[in-house]
Symmetry: C2
Subunit: 159 residues, 2 copies
Amino acid sequence: MARSTPPTQTNASEPDEIIVAPLCSIFRRFLKKRGLKFTSERALILDAVLSKDGLFEAEQLMYEMYDAGQKVSKATIYRTIKHLVEAGIIQEVRLDSKQAHYQLIYGRKPTDYLVNVDTDEIVEFHSPELIQLCESVCREHGLEPDGHQLIIYARKPSK
Amino acid sequence: MARSTPPTQTNASEPDEIIVAPLCSIFRRFLKKRGLKFTSERALILDAVLSKDGLFEAEQLMYEMYDAGQKVSKATIYRTIKHLVEAGIIQEVRLDSKQAHYQLIYGRKPTDYLVNVDTDEIVEFHSPELIQLCESVCREHGLEPDGHQLIIYARKPSK
DNA sequence: GTCGGTGCAAATGCTTTGCATTGAT
DNA sequence: ATCAATGCAAAGCATTTGCACCGAC
């Protein structure tokens, strides 16, 4: 069973003060509002997610939890991740046709990605201009922004 | 066997003069350069792709070709689509965790997407500002742009 | 006590692959 | 003639689901 390795990655953002406790209660509140339960498995998964500061994958998270002796089934990982996305705590990022990546977003600036297609290296960045753009595009259509995903693919200059 | 329906979609671009013949020779040239062959199946698939002006899916394309009496196997569709992407004729768009979508891009302005998360309606748009942004982000990292993908998620204003 | 949650294994669905045959160059 | 392409069926892989038991509320 080969564990897929996360993409190489540099984090462009200075680690903006992560407030762990609030996120837990935010998740509890979200679950309660929907008549769902806050179980010990969900607490463990949230903890594991909070310990990651870049992109991560569902199975990777599961194996790391396994190694840490916190065994939660794959099904539960996937089910919980869906709720975390719904709750606005993490976002799904689709870098390629393979597995989904996720990243903590709650209380952070929206993150965009620059992928070097030669090396697969991923650089994160934040773009206020893009946020403006999202807002104006939405406004044109009488809508309001509910997240976005920008992936820029790039390569070494031809010469 | 349920055929998945393509997302509802409006095309924001005036159909910029599509030059069909050139694309065929462009594809031939691409294939030759790689020691690959231009087969009748690939010609049929290219034709089918050129007949689409918005997003499409691999299986959907196959069924449409089937209905038109042009039967090409699923394997060949997928194999050819990969080459079309490599050739820069179409681009892959990942709107969700389900199947991939594709869209003709050769000779067109890069297309971005606004997804109404309530209705799943997709509006295409073009953004020169975004192209500027891509260039400046790439320049900062000593790279040059090689495509991008922007999906804006939006919803009806809360009130 | 009621439902929703969990783990497991099986199922799903998109996409890829192995292989024998066919066809472009 | 060579070597890639095709079609088919089978495999792969990330993700989802059915079900019997468990646990949060």
